[in-house]
């Protein structure tokens, strides 16, 4: 009887989840009037003949001209019909093959001629966000909502810090993000563990190992005179690259370190509570045991986050006749560096959280 009830509820929830994804898609695909840029809906496409192009590295590609028919869906030109030329290539690296029904942002050159600026892609993004939130809520119920809540809180904080950084034109970027990281830690650990001694132990370990990691990195930079560190390969940089890189590493490793410290401190507190007679040394050793089994997979999480996105640019370098070594240095070396530094942070956390737990946790914590 009870089982039936819960399964019935799950079907209802699944239905609601699908419904909310559909609603999200429907609303987003009819939000054109909220954009200032003119949006153009394609109603007919005539494709020209593909043109073979070969570059100096003998890469073959094909470019195709498209004649688009369609109309504007928003703003003062609403419902105006317009025909636009578009060119796409097989590689689709900086162009789009458009088809009937696509919506694009356009730039007017005069009243009757315009070019395609970019695709309107908010619908798939909103769909994906709705899907992720529904999955979290269906599978984890209330816990799912807390996860979504903590993501929102962290995102807002993060953008506040960026705002402060921009208002000061990127001065004190490390200090700025160090303060932000501390606030992040306090809030996140508070949400996960509550305000108690365990949380303070975890907080101390997180702060200690993050500071230690950054120091190790800076010392290594000093000893090697930053040989093989190509700041010029950092993307989207508008301010001094080195402090920005330090800030990136600092924020990047924080989540993993908090994750790990929480895990180790919570387990050790339970252990000490169940067996109050064990010594500080034994507590430290069990902490190391727990830590060494989680650190390997955790290091790989960040490794793939840092490395995967270097793929397109590395590929482009290789296809433009650069050597493997040069393509690596210009695109992947900073990713490898961040992975190594955060891995050091993850290992340090094992030591520090086991150490602080062994001296401070007495087994009488709630």
């Amino acid at each position: 009887m009870k089982k039936q009830l819960t399964s019935k509820m799950t079907w209802l929830q699944v239905g609601l989840a699908i419904l909310s994804c559909l609603v999200a898609v429907l609303v987003t695909s009819h939000n054109d009037q909220f954009y200032d840029n003119p949006i153009y809906k394609v109603t007919a496409v005539t494709n020209g003949k593909p043109n073979k192009v070969t570059d100096e590295f003998e890469n073959e590609d094909h470019q195709t001209e498209q004649k688009l028919q369609g109309y504007i869906t928003n703003g003062k030109h609403k419902n105006q019909r317009l025909s636009i030329d578009n060119t796409y290539s097989d590689s689709n690296a900086m162009d789009h093959k458009l088809k009937v029904g696509d919506k694009v942002f356009i730039t007017f050159h005069n009243k009757h001629s315009a070019t395609v600026k970019d695709l309107k892609r908010d619908v798939p993004v909103v769909f994906l966000i709705a899907l992720a939130i529904s999955l979290l809520c269906v599978l984890l119920k209330f816990q799912g909502l807390t996860v979504v809540g903590s993501i929102i809180v962290n995102t807002v904080l993060f953008f506040c810090a960026i705002k402060i950084n921009n208002d000061h034109n990127g001065a004190h970027v490390i200090l700025n993000f160090a303060v932000l990281s501390l606030i992040f830690c306090v809030i996140t650990l508070w949400m996960v563990m509550g305000w108690n001694k365990k949380m303070l132990v975890a907080l101390t370990s997180v702060v200690g190992s993050t500071v230690g990691t950054i120091l190790i990195m800076l010392v290594a930079f000093m000893i090697t005179h930053e040989k093989g560190v190509y700041y010029e390969s950092m993307q989207y940089v508008t301010q001094l690259p080195k402090p920005l890189f330090v800030a990136e590493v600092l924020v990047g490793v924080l989540g993993a370190v908090m994750d790990e410290a929480t895990d180790i401190v919570a387990s050790l507190a339970t252990l000490k509570k169940e067996k109050p007679e064990i010594s500080a040394r034994q507590v430290f050793d069990s902490g190391r045991q727990i830590g060494k089994s989680i650190m390997g997979p955790l290091i790989n999480v960040l490794f793939f986050v840092f490395m995967a996105e270097t793929l397109p640019m590395t590929l482009l370098y290789l296809k433009n006749g650069n050597s493997w070594g040069y393509s690596f240095s210009m695109n992947m070396s900073l990713g490898v560096l961040s992975s190594l530094v955060s891995a050091i942070g993850i290992v340090l956390t094992v030591v520090l959280s086991s150490f602080f737990a062994s001296i401070w946790i007495k087994g009488d914590e709630s």
Binding site: F105, V126, Y236, V251, G252, V253, G296, L311
Partner: protein, 262 residues
């Protein structure tokens, strides 16, 4: 000595001191994973089909990350099958969404870097974006699967009489515990990684609408969400596989007991 070499040595020594034998295999798995990622890129540059190459590489990466961790045999086998199933589900989601959002290739923000580079190289960059999304989720899937499988394995070894159905309930409980922290690891990783981009975009006073349509930003954002979905799916899938395996073990036990009684 280069900075990367020095930091690599520091890491190796630290991992050896803290984890001993286990530390070395953790270090090696990172090294081998790097080799696989680089080799994948080289193969794609030689015009091997990008998605196929990435899927094969992903299976190898998952196997290495999971079997070289110090989880028990039962836990790592379960985690491996679970992560392969999640990989398949995720790819089935990633391919249509990436083709829908068309975030492959480069945006206007990349113009400076692209100076002097030919972008008409005859490789479909939408497919490359699919590969990137798959690769970024791999570590997170493996970690979550190992964590849940190990937790469940410990329960089965302590409560040797636990049934498959009870295990399902416990799996969701363990999943709830790990999900909050796993999400933090992912999100801070991506925040840190995309810090420069975020600073750039907010400097240009992009509105929320502008960001949700910006190619480079959306590319980063949907990669996070795919990984998040992968981690969330790990909970039911790993638990299901563990309880199916548990069911088989119990059935075998019953059979043996019945034989003994006869």
């Amino acid at each position: 000595m280069g900075t990367i070499t020095l930091l690599g040595i520091v890491l190796l020594v630290l991992m050896l001191v803290v984890g001993g034998h286990q530390g070395i295999s953790g270090f090696l798995s990172m090294l081998v994973n790097f080799g696989i990622v680089f080799f994948t890129i080289v193969l794609i540059a030689f015009h091997f089909p990008p998605i196929t190459v990435t899927l094969i590489a992903s299976a190898v990466v998952l196997a290495i990350t999971i079997f070289w961790s110090d989880a028990t045999d039962n836990a790592s086998t379960t985690a491996f099958f679970a992560s392969i199933i999640i990989l398949i589900i995720l790819v089935a989601l990633i391919i249509p969404v990436e083709n829908w959002a068309k975030v492959g290739g480069f945006g206007l923000e990349d113009s400076e870097e692209l100076e002097g580079l030919s972008v008409l190289v005859g490789i479909n960059f939408t497919k490359i974006a699919i590969c990137t999304a798959i690769l970024s989720a791999l570590g997170a899937i493996a970690e979550a699967a190992i964590a849940i499988a190990s937790g469940l394995d410990e329960i089965t070894s302590v409560h040797s009489e636990i049934t498959a159905a009870q295990l399902m309930v416990d799996g969701v409980e363990i999943g709830k515990q790990i999900i909050g922290t796993a999400v933090n690891t992912l999100f801070f990783g991506f925040f840190g990684n995309a810090l420069a981009l975020f600073i750039w975009l907010t400097n240009l006073h992009f509105s929320i609408g502008g960001m949700l349509n910006d190619k480079v930003f959306v590319n980063e954002l949907i990669a996070i969400i795919f990984s998040l979905i992968g981690v969330v799916l790990t909970i039911p899938v790993t638990t299901l596989i563990m309880s199916v395996r548990r069911g088989r073990v119990l059935a075998k036990k019953n059979l043996e007991n019945n034989k003994e009684i006869k």
